[in-house]
Symmetry: C2
Subunit: 421 residues, 2 copies
Amino acid sequence: MTLSIDHTALETLAVQARRATSQLAATSTASKDRALERMAQLLIEQERPLIEANAQDLEGGRLKGLSQSFLDRLALNPERIAGMSDALRQIAAFSDPVGEITDMVVRPSGIQVGRMRIPLGVVLMIYEARPNVTADAAALCLKSGNAVILRGGSEAFCANRAIVKLWHQALLEVGLPQHAIQLVGTTDRAAVEALLKMEEWIDLVIPRGGEGLIRKVVEVSRIPVIKHYKGVCHLYVDEGADLDMAVELALNGKVQRPSVCNSLETLLVHEAVADAFLPNVVAALRAHDVQVRGCPLTQGIVPDVVPAQETDWPAEYLDLILALKVVGGMDEAIEHIERYGSSHTETIVTESHHRAQAFLRRVNSSCVLVNASTRFNDGGQLGLGAEIGISTSKLHAFGPMGLRELTTQKFIVLGQGQIRP
Amino acid sequence: MTLSIDHTALETLAVQARRATSQLAATSTASKDRALERMAQLLIEQERPLIEANAQDLEGGRLKGLSQSFLDRLALNPERIAGMSDALRQIAAFSDPVGEITDMVVRPSGIQVGRMRIPLGVVLMIYEARPNVTADAAALCLKSGNAVILRGGSEAFCANRAIVKLWHQALLEVGLPQHAIQLVGTTDRAAVEALLKMEEWIDLVIPRGGEGLIRKVVEVSRIPVIKHYKGVCHLYVDEGADLDMAVELALNGKVQRPSVCNSLETLLVHEAVADAFLPNVVAALRAHDVQVRGCPLTQGIVPDVVPAQETDWPAEYLDLILALKVVGGMDEAIEHIERYGSSHTETIVTESHHRAQAFLRRVNSSCVLVNASTRFNDGGQLGLGAEIGISTSKLHAFGPMGLRELTTQKFIVLGQGQIRP
């Protein structure tokens, strides 16, 4: 760790990554899978040095006074290492998107035109504490033929370095370029800023962490950023909905894992079902220690709810708190979502085919659901396999990003000497 | 035209565009097509006021001392207006990408998961002189369900304003929101800078113009930018290639329209065919007034070519000049393209199936061709219909962008009450 950054070293890192991309793009699926399988093996074989490196991080964290919950997230143990290893084997088993040719047609000129899927090039991952990202994000980039530059949190530096050392061994044994996976050798913030200006060498930035980190990256970067600020997810209970189902979906959305971005934050209820629904759902939520903050109409039906303030509507609680609003119908629900939502995940509970279709069409969030929990907006659940991140901006990818979203398409043309007249 | 910008007015413009998107996203294809057809009609009916507005621009341009060729590009006449009108009718005839659902599968949890194509939202177009962009870019945005903010060059301000007035009439008659198409009411550069910071309201920026304009936009913008700096396109003539075909493709690439980005700039020739090919191709090019700048090996075969300098290899001439280099084989050709190319368009002339496949796979430009002219990298020729721009960055879209590239996909989920266990 240095205090002043070495710009030349950083540029070398980026140029090496770019150079590795030519070989990576043309690497066979079999070679990439061999490297992933070998890395899965090495993580198990080299469990002890990994845990020792992690112990240094934990010791440093304790000296810095990091919280126990932070240290818990940082800690590696045999179970967690086995989990990292399993994740790599799963990624090896996914099909390789690179090289797929689609949309092949013959044009009037006689040329054949299609699109071939290719890697993006060089991906810069910026992330916080958990060292498992150093294994799984790198694995997703490798499988999709991209070179990756990893910049993990300073608190996990020793473990990250140890994991990347194993990556280099796996790549070397299989004959793949070591620069396919590189760790930034300093935890200085200025290093990140310098990398974010290297648009000539780096194709995509994926920041994973708090909203502050992500906003900072967007502001500084000249490289496209895939970002996700927050998840203010809504469930709208329609007139005529199955109210028992609605209670289950509200409960699952809020309490199954409140700390994640696809957990439920606001419940919108059609006024026609409010009298029948609100007492039940509030009781069910309270039985799981959820604090409900209600609009004036809610307060009229369930008098002892906490009155909701204007600040509750855009809030991402990530906690056992739920905002609740009675609305005049689906139009008002959609207006509320447009005004306060984060384009992340919204669901409708309805028995009306017409309104299910209209909700799916009109709500422009990354995942729109009918009669299912918001918690399904997840790469694994949606069938992408592992996910490298989630995008709530619409460019390139919208929603969870898997292997396919780490690629792009080029046009390919097969001719027999055609010229433009 | 004001000298100090009115930030509130610009923000109002952006917010109005955002508001229009809800209605636009849910508008039927029939309504959008009616608006396009009506606009095509209005351009013809209102030809006289358009030409009068354009006359003001031309008069202003002459007073500013703009060149005759610039004024020629700026000028509207009945033929050009008829061309604009035809382009709109063609866009109306394209199929609408919005609402398409693909990849629908049932997941183990029982939920059905698919992807629905949706508009991006609000597009900011920044462009230079030609007023036809005010018609066709707006038409592509409208057809794909996006709101557009147009910021044309100051030299075409009066014509652009007159065209947008017709757009408003067409939208109004069909019952679509007028704010779907708006023109920035000032040509002050500070207005563009202010808009480029409005990431909350604007989803995508498409700058069309010189490299300087585009670099400036990328530097200032917090909104994703689809960009295309330049086209340094290569043709590689392989060992065993059909040399007559190679002459035709070189000639077509260079002379058919030298001023455009997909014209040929560098010819790479396998050393095994150099003796047979170079004298013929140089003679054919010279017969069309092309200056050939050759590497030392070329100079050995065609002694009177202009010696190429290092600065010739990355040059985008856009003129009757061609750089020519003899290479040891396809590997060296691909290395040259990686080092000096612009990821735009590259073609191979070959009879070898193996090398055709390898070239297609290994060259990561937006369009890679076999035995066809670089001039085919064009939305119309590739079958996209009209194109709104071309991207040489890999995120979101790579190559010519048509209607589909003005959309994105959200996940849709149909359940029967599923929750996450």
